[in-house]
Amino acid sequence: MVNGAGMSLVGAVLFGLGVVGFLTRRNLIVMFLSTEVMFQGVLVNLIAMGMRWGDLQGQAFGVFVLVIAAVEAGLGLAIVVMLFRRRGTLDAERWNTLRG
């Protein structure tokens, strides 16, 4: 059995890497991949918290995180495909008219 602190440390680092990736990359697909890295960080953190309190709620929430990740990937990639068909590029900078 590992310690919960080490696992939440790894989760925090994964989440931070995902944030940096989401902010820096310009490819829409890689931006979505970065959000998946953030999801992994949250999932590791949930497992660690479940261990720390000694019950299964953390793992049950992990299952729900998995569901949300699947929903997000499906809808997000559908939107990405639509945007690609519209402009023929995956560059997020090309869609900056939404900035207002």
Partner: protein
């Protein structure tokens, strides 16, 4: 834990942030070598901190290896300049995360991670990447390499990520943590216990999750089947709210 290890954590986060900054896409060979060295320093310092945190609870080497793999692969996901390789490195992140879940006694979640993430979501990602980036330099893809090879505001983003990670990690390392408690239902097996929790305590949430999945599936089909006119042919730029409205849904 004493304050010394908190400062070690800060230094490790700073080295890692610098390594990520140097590894960001417009990368020369000298920069990527420096990034590799700094990243090795940061990961080594983090492994030492992890060893300190673990204390007497065992499984150090396996957990250290898995966290090394997860963080290194995640760094490659966000710094690799070709999306296909990013997706493949993400598979590595998922596999090492599920290894950690096994170590923590969450066998069901580990199996679900491999099946759902590595088996389903990643396949969708790779499929979309292949769909959007066919080889052969026809006009829409002429600039496809340029935006992958340029990071957007790497300095500010890495600074924000460093502040986030250093704060959270400092709090985690500074606290006293009890050793992992084995859950009381572990005797009947993790899958059975998870099923029990899901269907007794979270029954409504499970139903809502199912409804959410179905709504998302219908929404994705409706979005992807719309006939979207190309921006550069015909009417130049409809106002932003009109883009979806002019296209017939089916």
């Amino acid at each position: 834990m004493e304050a010394f290890w908190v400062y070690v954590t800060y230094v490790a986060s700073a080295a890692g942030a610098l390594a990520i900054y140097l590894a960001m896409p417009p990368s020369a060979r000298s920069r990527s070598r420096a990034a590799l060295g700094l990243g090795a320093v940061a990961l080594g310092a983090m492994l030492v901190v992890l060893h300190q945190l673990a204390g007497e609870s065992g499984e150090h080497i396996t957990f250290g290896l898995l966290s090394f793999l997860a963080i290194g692969a995640a760094a490659r996901v966000i710094t690799h300049s070709r999306p296909v390789y990013s997706a493949l490195y993400f598979v590595m992140v998922v596999l090492s995360t599920s290894g950690m879940a096994v170590l923590a006694g969450a066998e069901f979640l580990a199996a679900a991670l491999v099946i759902v993430y590595a088996g389903a979501i990643l396949v969708t990602y790779v499929f979309v990447i292949m769909l959007a980036q066919q080889p052969g330099s026809t006009d829409p893809l002429a600039s496809s390499m340029k935006y992958d090879a340029m990071a957007r505001e790497p300095g500010a983003a890495v600074l924000a990520g460093f502040v986030l990670v250093a704060t959270i990690a400092g709090v985690i390392v500074g606290r006293e943590w009890p050793d992992g408690v084995a859950s009381e239902v572990a005797a009947v097996g993790n899958t059975l216990a998870i099923g029990d929790v899901l269907l007794h305590r979270f029954a409504v949430s499970v139903e809502l999750a199912g409804v959410l999945l179905m709504v998302a599936m219908i929404g994705a089909i409706a979005i992807a089947r719309k006939r979207i006119p190309r921006a550069d042919e015909g009417d130049e730029s409809p106002p932003p709210g009109e883009i979806g409205r002019r296209a017939k849904p089916f």
